[in-house]
């Protein structure tokens, strides 16, 4: 931008005096949002004011109010929306947590293998990742769930299998880079077996990068899980799930907006938290590495 000569910039300031201790405020806010939802989901049976599946015959589609006990109103079957939102956080968080962990594990393992193995292995895995990306994630998940049934474990496996290419690419390039470093050659010359030098020299440096990519995956998985449930392929009724609740309330949008909007707000707050955390993690990473290759 400004073409000031470099002399003026060296005013005694260190290159990057930004937050070295802990997270930025935004990151902490994001983490707090996610943890809050995790706690609410965990404690759902105890903190929910009503049974999430119980119809309140006196209150069908009651509007949100502080007065009559249904804080966020009830749905068209008279079920308490707040209780359903608490319980609906469970499938979202379980799917997002497990699928993200699985995808990171698969992607990292394949990435290290591709970075370490020969050209052929590398090419084959990279092609598979590329082919997978030609079918949009939601469409591929839709096909797989239609074929194998909408069970929770299928949902987790499919979303994990869809998200690994990102981690794969990061792990592969990091491994390729690490392999050419002197310490790896030294380890090899000293007769250290490959798997041990991977564990000692590749994995520790790779982990922070994978934390950053896993927040991206988690956001994608939360969105896709909600999208699939919205279409009717994810969590099946009568279970409570945010995407499903949004879909069920859609028909009543004109008469009772809170049916869809309340779970939508819950979903948005979780996604917002994930994004804030992800931004904080990656900006911290790039500040630690001095803006080098990230």
């Amino acid at each position: 931008m400004s073409d000031r000569p470099a002399i003026f910039d060296s005013g005694g300031a260190t290159p990057r005096p930004t937050r070295h201790s802990g997270f930025s405020l935004r990151g902490r806010l994001g983490l707090a949002l996610i943890l809050a939802w995790a706690v609410l989901a965990l404690l759902a049976p105890w903190i929910s004011p009503y049974d999430p599946d119980q119809s309140d015959l006196a209150a069908f589609m009651a509007a949100p109010s502080l007065a009559d006990g249904h804080l966020l109103g009830t749905d068209d079957l008279g079920r308490d929306i707040l209780s359903r939102i608490f319980h609906g956080a469970r499938p979202v968080l379980v799917v997002a947590g497990l699928a993200t962990l699985m995808s990171v594990a698969i992607g990292a393992a394949l990435g290290i293998v591709a970075g370490y193995g020969g050209r052929l292995v590398d090419q084959v895995i990279a092609r598979i990742a590329e082919i997978q990306l030609t079918i949009p994630g939601l469409v591929l998940a839709l096909l797989a769930l239609a074929l194998f049934g909408s069970r929770l474990e299928n949902l987790i496996i499919i979303l994990a299998l869809e998200s690994w290419p990102l981690h794969f690419r990061v792990a592969r390039s990091y491994t390729l880079n690490a392999r050419s470093q002197g310490y790896m050659e030294a380890a090899w010359l000293a007769g250290v077996p490959h798997w041990r030098s991977v564990l000692r020299h590749v994995v520790p440096g790779l982990l922070p990068l994978l934390v950053a990519t896993s927040t991206i995956s988690a956001a994608f998985i939360v969105m896709t899980e909600a999208g699939l449930s919205f279409i009717g392929l994810g969590i099946q009724p009568p279970k409570a799930d945010w995407g499903l609740m949004i879909a069920q309330g859609k028909a009543q949008l004109g008469a009772a907006w809170w049916l869809s909007i309340m779970p939508a707000l819950a979903l948005l707050s979780l996604l917002f938290g994930v994004q804030l955390l992800g931004d904080a993690v990656s900006s911290r990473l790039s500040s630690l590495e001095g803006g080098g290759e990230a």
Binding site: I128, I135, P136, I231, K250, A264
Partner: protein, 344 residues
């Protein structure tokens, strides 16, 4: 006289060849002469990559179908008679060895031939055919609106003089990006259809029906375009040829348009190519929200009725479309910026 020289300057823009010392005549020979002259080897390479992607995605679909255990009963339907299954086996060879099944599936899928729809008893592709133009209309209008919005916001973010204009719209788009498409759609329906009554809540048939779905889907593509265009503009602005043009007393707007913006568009084109997949995936959700009778709605309906041939046909159709979009983007970039074909 002057504009002509400007264009010449802009055309060879950021010059990697000169930066590396005087270009050898050989390298210059390899550069395409005319703007529309795409090198055959580059074309072949891209075509081959597209073919691999198409074959690969059809193979992936086959693997999934085969992994269910009994493709024939799946595709013939639960109430199929023994004869139905035998007929399907005769046609697709689901009783023969797996490599023959694979070959037969591949050949049929490439020709768009899938078993008959279980619901309508016509070829699966004919169920989809009437929906294709509607999805194309939705996606292409979303692409245009999204790209224009993204470019405008990106341009503002890079050049506006007030801080509010630089950061406000971009921040807004960033928030939009973490909103799932179907939530945006529902909010749009609530605000513009139910509260304000400007547009119908769903369906198709007129231009007014198209507005909300297209706007919703366009919000999927606008944020990444805006951010990339901003970065790209800022990079181009510091290039040598821009400084040269400015020092020649060419007006700032001229330089901004001819030398900065045009060159900054190239990475955006590449991005649009890679976004085809997410746009089509988003279209499935958008169509469901608005009851837009496109491919996505047909596919979701088929899922509900366990009409597997139609689902397969739709998935293959989408995969082929995505591959073709990627190819188109690559070729477009090669036309706009011929250097990309040399460096590979």
């Amino acid at each position: 006289m002057r504009p002509l020289r400007n264009r010449h300057l802009a055309a060879d823009g950021p010059q990697p060849l000169q930066a590396a010392g005087p270009a050898s005549p050989q390298v210059l020979d390899r550069l395409p002469r005319r703007p529309l002259d795409i090198r055959p080897s580059f074309l072949l390479q891209r075509l081959a990559a597209t073919a691999v992607a198409v074959l690969g995605s059809i193979s992936l679909v086959f693997c999934l179908v085969f992994a269910t255990g009994s493709p024939a009963t799946l595709l013939a339907g639960a109430q199929a008679s023994r004869e139905d299954i035998a007929a399907l086996n005769a046609l697709y060879g689901f009783d023969r060895p797996i490599y023959e099944q694979y070959g037969s599936f591949l050949l049929h899928a490439m020709r768009g031939e899938f078993p008959h729809s279980l619901r309508f008893d016509i070829p699966a592709f004919e169920v989809l055919a009437p929906a294709i133009p509607l999805t194309l209309l939705l996606v292409s209008s979303a692409l245009v609106v999204g790209a224009v919005t993204g470019l405008a916001v990106g341009h503002l973010a890079a050049t506006a003089s007030s801080r509010l204009l630089r950061e406000g719209p971009l921040a807004l788009l960033t928030v939009v990006q973490s909103t799932p498409v179907f939530v945006t759609g529902i909010l749009a329906v609530l605000l513009f259809s139910l509260t304000l009554g400007w547009f119908p809540t769903g369906g198709s048939g007129s231009l007014r029906h198209l507005v909300l779905p297209a706007l919703t889907l366009s919000l999927l593509i606008a944020p990444p375009v805006a951010r990339l265009f901003r970065t790209s503009l800022l990079q181009q602005r510091d290039k040598d040829h821009v400084r040269t043009a400015l020092s020649k007393q060419i007006s700032r707007t001229q330089v901004q348009l001819r030398h900065v913006a045009v060159n900054a568009l190239v990475p955006v084109l590449a991005l649009l190519g890679t976004q085809a997949g997410s746009l089509l995936g988003g279209a499935v959700l958008t169509e469901t929200v608005f009851g837009w009778p496109g491919v996505g709605t047909v596919m979701v309906g088929a899922v509900g009725m366990k009409d597997y041939p139609v689902i397969l046909a739709a998935v293959v159709l989408i995969a082929v479309t995505v591959s073709l979009c990627n190819l188109l983007a690559d070729l477009l970039i090669a036309v706009v910026d011929p250097r990309t074909t040399v460096s590979r």
